[in-house]
């Protein structure tokens, strides 16, 4: 079965096209219409919750569950956004989430590329073992280590602090792996000739290696930012102070206290999604690339 790929790779000598071609064309036409319909179905399933979220955020509570369904709100209830925004300190929560996500992203960009560069381009004792150790951290998710990690943060007196939210996630085993794989492709000659020219090691990294890694960095950056913006379990564990709440934490608490004010809940949901939507629109390629490369092991 596997040989077929090899078989078909060698072009056949004869072609017997004409007899089949009309039938085939008709079949293909039907096929592409079917494909289009299937894709449209998938689009609907993917997008409708978004539309419903936006529509509901602008509907008045009296029309919230009205039948027939009111897709286009009438009257439009802009008030829900104002009320929700002021119901709790949401500007603060946005700020917190922004600080945490940006810091984690910058940290990963720097540390993952430094570590990746080290593992890809330097020879030293224990390199292979260190690489495997770093990779193996991918098997230690937060869901497994949350209890002792919390105890460590407690001992450091980092509960309810930005450093407690940020520092444990400044670098990631997968990110290191990703940067290493990318840097393996950078020619050694380039680095060596810079050395002969007398450039310092750090300058070589900063001015020659890093600019060449831009595609990998953008993908890693977007991927990391998305994960950091999404982070829920960790703030839930170490943040009890209102002033340090991140947005996901605040949204979930908002739901438990304003459970039936659906217009306001949907308004906050829209606002909380907005940064991701913007990121997706402006960095769409990198966004998708960031996901695609997670399938790039080996």
């Amino acid at each position: 079965m596997r040989n077929l790929a090899a078989q078909v790779a060698t072009p056949p000598t004869h072609r017997n096209k004409p007899a089949e071609s009309l039938l085939r064309q008709a079949g293909r036409h039907r096929g592409s219409i079917l494909a289009f319909v299937l894709v449209l179905g998938a689009v609907a399933i993917s997008v409708l919750p978004y539309l419903w979220m936006v529509s509901s955020s602008l509907r008045t509570m009296t029309n919230m569950f009205s039948i027939p369904i009111q897709w286009i709100p009438h009257p439009v209830n802009w008030q829900s956004y104002v009320l929700a925004w002021h119901a709790q300190d949401f500007p603060r929560y946005f700020f917190n989430s922004g600080v945490v996500a940006v810091a984690i992203t910058l940290g990963n960009l720097l540390l993952c590329s430094l570590a990746g560069y080290s593992l890809a381009k330097f020879r030293y004792f224990g390199r292979g073992l260190l690489f495997i150790l770093i990779l193996s951290t991918m098997m230690l998710p937060l869901e497994v280590t949350m209890v002792p990690l919390f105890l460590i943060i407690k001992r450091l007196d980092w509960v309810n602090s930005y450093q407690g939210l940020i520092v444990p996630f400044l670098v990631d085993g997968f990110g290191v792996f990703l940067m290493r794989q990318f840097m393996l492709g950078i020619p050694k000659d380039l680095i060596d000739s810079a050395r002969i020219d007398g450039a310092s090691e750090f300058r070589i990294f900063w001015q020659i290696v890093l600019p060449l890694c831009k595609p990998a960095l953008v993908a890693l950056g977007v991927f990391t930012f998305r994960e950091a913006w999404d982070m829920y379990i960790w703030p839930l564990i170490i943040v009890s102070k209102d002033s340090l709440r991140t947005l996901p934490l605040a949204i979930s608490l908002f739901m438990s206290s304003y459970g039936t004010a659906w217009d306001q809940l949907m308004a906050i949901a829209v606002l909380g999604t907005l940064p991701m939507i913007l990121l997706f629109f402006f960095l769409q390629r990198a966004f998708i690339q960031g996901i695609a490369v997670t399938g790039l092991k080996e």
Binding site: A5, P12, S32, L114, F122, I134, P141, E143, I152
Partner: protein
């Protein structure tokens, strides 16, 4: 004499070279150090400590004391834990199995020429863009008794389903969201895998008169094997870690029907302050995560020959 004259610059050169090699190695270590420090303190140390705590009684207030295997013995006997492990298993199986064919199917559809392809692909990708917590809030709203999903079901004459309020439908409701979120994610990975397959194979097969199905079976699937394996492992591991959605939507209820393992670990540790038992569960989850990835890779490599 003359050999000494020759040897001197040679040695000098070698010493110089050794010097730079050592310097370079030092730089290599130095730039790896921050990563090693962070990963050691915040990944390995906790894992090691998890094993220690798992053998202790510890409530955060009184000092921990060693209790041997008591936590593990209690766990095995505890119907709540067994239930939680069962819920996690059901969640993993039913949230993962549909994702494989769905994401591969979508990827195949998007790998052909299609009207408005790029726009449609971005649209399909949207569930990945939505933050997990927002997703939980929006779907909770849609799952309400008089919510939009029940209204839509009504069009087909289906009676309203109590979704999150009934112990028989809450888990399927949570699973459905997992599928909604995961499918476009893995579609992207499959698509990358598909695009790596040289088109010549298909062109040649077409000339040979191969049907679309046989091309898919005999070219696409075999060449996509590494991607498929990876998607299988990733989906299972991600599903084992599910937390935010059940935590926010149901808190584990009704009557424990959505209390997946990570949720139970969290509640045992931070609501009941039984750190020892929570750590013992963590060890269990850790072993499960490892077993699954190893087992799946095994099964797959055996199927190859």
């Amino acid at each position: 004499m003359s050999s000494a004259v020759h040897a001197e610059p040679m040695m000098l050169k070698r010493r110089l070279h050794m010097g730079t090699a050592a310097k370079q190695a030092a730089f290599g270590y130095a730039i790896l150090l921050p990563t090693l420090a962070i990963l050691f303190i915040f990944r390995f140390l906790p894992m090691l400590e998890a094993f220690v705590i798992a053998f202790s009684k510890f409530d955060l207030i009184h000092p921990a004391h060693f209790v041997g295997f008591a936590n593990f013995v209690d766990l095995v006997r505890d119907p709540l834990f067994r239930n939680s492990a069962r819920i996690s298993l059901i969640y993993v199986v039913f949230s993962v199995l549909p994702v494989w064919p769905l994401s591969l199917g979508l990827a195949v559809l998007f790998n052909r020429s299609l009207f408005l392809k790029n726009v449609l692909r971005s649209a399909v990708f949207m569930p990945v863009v939505m933050p997990a917590v927002v997703m939980a809030v929006v779907w909770t709203f849609m799952y309400q008794q008089d919510g939009v999903i029940n209204t839509a079901l009504g069009w087909f004459g289906i009676d309203p389903i109590p979704w999150l309020r009934s112990s028989s439908t809450a888990l399927p409701a949570v699973i459905l969201i997992g599928i909604w979120r995961a499918t476009p994610y893995y579609m992207v990975i499959f698509l990358a895998g598909l695009q790596a397959i040289p088109t010549e194979y298909y062109e040649a097969a077409e000339i040979d008169g191969a049907s679309r199905w046989s091309m898919f079976r005999d070219i696409t699937l075999p060449l996509l094997k590494p991607t498929t394996l990876l998607v299988m492992v990733m989906t299972v591991i991600v599903a084992m870690k599910v937390f935010a959605v059940p935590m926010i939507m149901t808190g584990g209820g009704p009557s424990d029907s959505t209390r997946v393992l990570p949720l139970f670990i969290y509640q045992t540790a931070f609501e009941f302050f039984d750190m020892g038992r929570a750590a013992a569960m963590s060890v269990f989850l850790f072993v499960a995560v490892m077993l699954f990835s190893v087992a799946q890779i095994r099964i797959f490599t055996q199927a190859e020959d």
